[in-house]
Structures are given as C-alpha cells and as structure tokens.
C-alpha cells in the first residue's frame, strides 16, 4: 500500500512537470525563425550577423529562436514553409536572393510577420527607401506583413572609396565582387565614385563573379587586377570577396573588408586590412525584433544609412598610424557631407 502511494506521488509529480513545461513554452514565448542564404549561419559575414541580432533579442526579450540554413536557392520556400507549419510568429529571411520566395510566402501566410534583409518590393523594387510620393509602399502591393531591412551600401562603399583613393600609390583601386545583385552593385558604385571624389584621375577596376562561395576564383581575379596595377582591393562578396582580400595580403598590399569588421572574423588577412565597410545587420535585426516586442513593427522599409549609424567604416586597427591625417580628414569630411545630405554617392537604382 505504501509502495503504491509513493509510486503515485512520483507519477503525479512527473505529470505535473511535463504539463507545466509544455504549457509554459506554448503560451508566452514568441517564436522567431531565421532562414539563412546559402552562405550559412557561420559565414563570418551577414548571415552570421543576422543570427547574432536574433540571439541578442532572444536573450533580452525571451524569444524562442531557431535557424534553418538554405543549401541551395530551391530550399528558400521549403524552409519558410517549415517555420510556418511549426507556427512561428516571425520569420526573418536573409538576403536579396530570397526576395521572391519571401513575397510569395508572405502572401500565403498573412498572419506571420516577415522581415527580409537587402530586398525591397513594389512599387519601389530594388531601391533603398520608400519615396515620399507613395503613401504606403507595401500595403499597396499586398505585402502588409513584410518589413524590408535595407542598407545604403553605396554610402559606406563611398567612404571606403575615399580612403582607398587617398591610400593608393599606383592610382588604381579595385573590387572583387560576388553576384551582380543590388546590394553588391551599391557597394561597388559607391566605392568607385568615392575613390574618384578623393582623387579625380584614379582608375577603378571591377569584376563580378557569379558566386558567393568561390574564394579560389576570387583570389585569381584579385591577382589579375593587382597585375593591372590595383593596390587597394575591396572584397565585396562573402567568401568570394575574401579570396580577393587574400590576394592583396599575399602581395603585401591593402585590402578593405565588407559587411562586418573582417579584422575580427578573417584573421589571416588582418595585416592588409585598412578598414571594413560595415553594415550592421545585427543591429537592424535586433531593432526590428524590439519593435515586434513593443507591437510597433510596421510593413515597409527600414533603411540603415550613415546618418542613423546603420552602416559605417570599421576602425583602422593596425593601419591607424599609417593612414595620413589628411586622408582621415577627407573621410571625415565625406562622412559629414553624406550625413548632411550635401553629397550624393552617384548610385541610381
């Protein structure tokens, strides 16, 4: 009898624990899902940065979070579907390439909030900000539940170009670029115009490589452009761009990283890195999730630029003492002018 009693107590306790655990998870916590692009969550670049932002928000606001990595473009819709069937509240998709998949799925699941990085929609597709003439960009296009987190890469690219134009000895600067998509093009155009703003007769070279995961090709391309006299290589394109940075480092030239401060993420080339053109994807994602918490998230575009600190140059690190004050002053001047709106980067969507 006593044995029966103790056994039933144990059982009761067990059942209670299980029930309370289930109840707790289902009722209060908001579920946030992140779908990465093919680079994966450890790409030392913008996928990783997005995940960092999600995690920061999760610890602060107590969200349930999970990520799924896309292995190829055909996975995008599948991965979004998976989060949708698991009843996630917010789905964040990373990258321009996922634009079409996200739009289609946002229409299919109107109750789920979507945020996409680097891609914008009707009626201002591929632009970085909603024009004043349009009242509500996304609601008009039937995307009432989508927020685009956009970055003015052309502005920070411009600053990188100013620095490159000031530092080049040969008078030639170059970019090893990934796939020719708007965020990459914004970086490249900004960089080239920035270099020319600094030094009118500077020569700019650029090659687009149709992959973000081909460092060997990136390095070959970098070496070719170095052969043509380039001495400041800006790598714009995930792992492909990293190959370009390596080419510059091996020839003891200068390199500029992209998206994150690559001095920290790509230690092999830190001797060559004069700066990195950062876009703070983690901050943008975090701010968005904070808005979700407060119920203030809206459909449409949120644009990060120099003015609001969403993009900017990373510290000069080891090169701080080697960059002349005159060049630093010009970078400062360009920064202020971009903030004030008195300087245009020359990028047109």
């Amino acid at each position: 009898m006593r044995k029966m009693f103790s056994l039933s107590v144990v059982l009761l306790v067990l059942v209670a624990t299980v029930l309370s655990a289930c109840g707790g998870a289902a009722s209060t916590k908001l579920k946030i899902g992140l779908v990465t692009d093919v680079g994966g969550v450890n790409d030392k670049s913008f996928n990783q940065s997005a995940w960092t932002g999600v995690q920061k928000a999760a610890t602060e606001f107590g969200y349930d979070t999970k990520y799924i990595e896309s292995k190829q473009p055909t996975d995008y819709e599948k991965n979004i579907d998976q989060f949708a069937t698991e009843k996630y509240d917010v789905i964040i998709t990373v990258g321009f390439m996922m634009g079409d998949a996200t739009a289609a799925k946002a229409k299919q699941y109107p109750a789920i909030k979507f945020a996409i990085i680097d891609s914008s929609y009707f009626p201002t597709k591929d632009s970085v900000a909603c024009p004043d003439t349009v009242k509500d960009c996304y609601a008009d296009g039937g995307l009432k539940n989508v927020t685009s987190l956009m970055f003015q890469e052309d502005e920070v690219g411009f600053l990188a170009g100013v620095l490159a134009g000031g530092m080049t000895k040969t008078g030639t600067v170059c970019t090893v670029s990934g796939v020719e998509i708007p965020p990459v093009v914004r970086y490249v155009v900004g960089y080239q115009n920035g270099a020319k703003w600094m030094k009118a007769d500077v020569k700019t070279l650029n090659v687009y490589i149709p992959s973000f995961v081909d460092p060997a090709k990136g390095k070959e391309t970098g070496q070719s452009m170095i052969g043509q006299g380039c001495d400041v290589v800006f790598g714009v394109g995930g792992n492909t761009g990293n190959g370009g940075l390596l080419a510059a480092k091996e020839k003891s030239l200068m390199a500029i990283g992209v998206d994150v401060d690559q001095y920290n993420t790509y230690a092999e080339v830190k001797d060559a890195l004069i700066t990195s053109a950062q876009k703070n994807v983690d901050v943008a994602v975090y701010e968005y999730l904070k808005a979700v918490k407060g119920g203030a998230s809206k459909a449409g575009m949120i644009t990060a630029n120099i003015k609001n600190g969403g993009v900017g140059l990373a510290p000069y690190h080891d090169w701080d003492s080697k960059i002349p004050d005159a060049v630093k002053a010009k970078v400062k001047e360009a920064t202020d002018a971009l903030k004030a709106g008195s300087l245009a980067t020359g990028y047109k969507p």
């Binding site: 969550v41 450890n42 060997a216 390095k219 070959e220 070719s224 043509q228 990293n242 920290n264 230690a267």
Partner: protein
C-alpha cells in the same frame, strides 16, 4: 597468346599516335583563336605583362582540373569509372585545411613560424592524400570486389563527401579560428624563372602546380613505356585476355584506382593549401567533373587531359581579363565563356573519343 597482347598494345599505340598530334594541334589552334578573339574584344589593351599574367593564371586554374583528369585517367585506363573525384577532392580540401590550421597551432609554440608553417603544410598534404585514398578504397572495394555499379559507387562518394564535410565544417571549423600558416609560397626555380615570358608562366608557380606538370610526364611514361602500363591498359581493354596471360586483374585495378585516389587528394589539397587558406562547403565547385570532361577531351591520355584542363583554365582567365577591361559588357556574358569554350571544343574539335573497352564493367573471374 602473345598475339592477343600484341594486338592490344598495337591497337592502343596506333590509335594514340594518330590522334595525339591532332589533339595538340587543335589545342594550340584553340589557344591562338581565343587569343585573337580576346584582343578583338578588349581592343588590343592586353600587352606583354597582361598576356604573361593571363597565361600564368591559366596554368594555376588548370591545376586542380588536371589532377582530377589524371585521377580519371589512372582509374579508367584500368577499367574502373570514377565519378567520385569531386567528393574526394572536397574531402581532401577540408582535411588539408583542418590539419594545416591545427598542427600549426601546436608547432608554432616550439619553433619559428616559417618552419612551423612548412611542417604543418606538408603534414596537411599527407593527410589530404590519405583521406582521399581512404575514400577511394571504399570505391575500389565496392566496385572491384563486390562488383557493384561503379557510377552508383562514385555518386555515393560525392554525396557522402558533401554531407560529411558540411557537417564537420559546421561542427568544428565554422567558428572564429586562429590564423593558419597560409598557403604554399611561390617556388622560383633558379635560372629558369628568369627566362622572359616562359619563366613567369612556367617557373614561378606554387609546388602543387609543378607536381601536376611532372605527373603529366610521369603518367605518360608509366602508361605507355613500362610493363605496368601495358598491363594496366590490357586490363582496361580486355581483362579476360589479360587474365589468361597471368595478369592479376584485381590487383592491377586496385593499384591503379588507389593511385588515382592519391592524385585526387593532391587536387583537393590544391584548394586549401595552394589557392586560398580557407575552407568552405562546396568549394570544389564542380571542378572534379570538369576534370572528367578534360579526360574525355584528352582521349584518356595524360597530355590530352592536361590540354583539356588548360583550355578550361584559359576560358576562365580570359573571362577575368575581359571583365576587367570591358566593364560595359554585362558581366554574365564573359562568365559563360569557359563553359561555352568547353562545349565547342568537346563537340566540334575532338571528334570521336573511345573509352577503354572494358571501362565501367566489373571483372568476373571464371
């Protein structure tokens, strides 16, 4: 009895002799035509230095493709189809990267950085070859001993390599790791590297590129001028005849396939020890398969395969040169060039390519 061997060897030699020079000529012509075309496109801006740079780059890009093609030559000459080259190269690339990086962390505390770097790079090369041979052993046992379909076995290796490297990368290599020792330095061959034009193209390269070039001669000599080569070709053409003459078909195939594994391992190591010092999933980018195309282009001969690899490499480096000089041309157009060139050369210039007669069939001893 001996007439059988004689017929085999004569047949192989004759078909080889007839086509070899044609292949070389077509290859040379292809290079020349591509060159004219290039200068037309970029308006003659490519002067001496640019030409030399482009050709040196051609050789670098061709290196992994040539390794893949040599691996194919070794296996298929003995009658074993190997489409798992891509997978073996990918695995070897990851192993080389990991061994290089981690052994450097150990060695650098007890000796100077340069020595530690070269020791860990050599270790990494050995480990890469070992990993590739291990995978090749699987392919060999499955397709020679168990007589399974060789295409399936190769496909399994490719898929397995994708999964295994992807998993290991995510688990252990995708963190913020310390800096590794970097890639093999450029080895300048004394005197020869000073020759104008040829020097910078042929004699200012990294070690694996030299190994690739030496291998082309070595494999050619071994296949066509040694008893071992004769046996290999006999086993690939007519294993039953070879068997009746006392050649151990199974052993010959095992040796050849495993040697192919060694070569594929070198090709994989190229990616992370010679090209760049990072690894990322799928970084071989299908070059293993392009190597197989180069092998077919070269009609299962090492020099032919090398030329095939060079044509693809040339397409690649021309793409870069055109993109640099003509930013006004949409970037997608030059990017098609290497593939277009490969198709044109494969379909138009080569003519009929006949594989070894027993290629891809398991041998049943009676």
């Amino acid at each position: 009895m001996s007439t059988v061997t004689k017929t085999i060897s004569n047949g192989a030699r004759a078909s080889l002799r007839g086509t070899r020079w044609v292949t070389v000529l077509i290859g040379a012509f292809g290079f020349f035509a591509a060159w004219i075309l290039l200068n037309l496109i970029i308006g003659g801006q490519c002067r001496d230095k640019c030409v030399v740079d482009t050709l040196a780059q051609t050789l670098r890009v061709a290196t992994p493709i040539a390794f893949a093609a040599f691996c194919g030559v070794m296996c298929e000459r003995a009658g074993v189809v190997d489409i798992g080259i891509e997978g073996k190269m990918l695995t070897a690339a990851m192993v080389a990267y990991a061994v290089n990086l981690f052994s450097f962390q150990i060695f650098k505390n007890s000796m100077d950085v340069a020595t530690a770097g070269s020791i860990s790079r050599s270790l990494a090369l050995v480990a890469a070859v070992a990993s590739s041979v291990l995978m090749q052993l699987l392919h060999a046992v499955v397709s020679i001993k168990f007589k399974a379909d060789q295409i399936i076995s190769g496909t399994v290796i490719n898929i397995m390599a994708l999964g295994v490297t992807g998993y290991l990368y995510r688990q252990f290599l995708a963190q913020n790791l310390p800096a590794g020792p970097g890639t093999f330095p450029i080895l300048q061959i004394p005197l020869l590297s000073q020759i104008p034009i040829i020097g910078p193209i042929l004699f200012q390269q990294q070690p694996l590129t030299y190994i690739m070039l030496i291998l082309a001669f070595l494999i050619h000599y071994m296949l066509f001028y040694t008893p071992w080569g004769l046996r290999t070709r006999a086993v690939g053409e007519h294993p039953r005849a070879a068997d009746t003459l006392g050649i151990n078909v199974f052993r010959t195939r095992y040796i050849n396939v495993l040697l192919g594994g060694v070569i594929a391992g070198l090709g994989g190591a190229w990616f992370t020890l010679e090209a760049v010092d990072v690894f990322n999933p799928q970084m071989t980018n299908g070059l293993g398969f392009i190597g197989l195309a180069a092998m077919i282009f070269g009609k299962w001969t090492p020099f032919g395969a090398l030329i095939g690899a060079m044509i693809f490499g040339l397409g690649n480096s021309i793409t870069t040169t055109v993109s640099i000089y003509r930013p006004d041309i949409p970037s997608q157009l030059p990017q098609m060039l290497p593939y277009l060139l490969t198709i044109i050369v494969l379909t138009g210039a080569v003519g009929r390519a006949t594989p070894p007669a027993a290629d891809g069939t398991a041998y049943e001893k009676q």
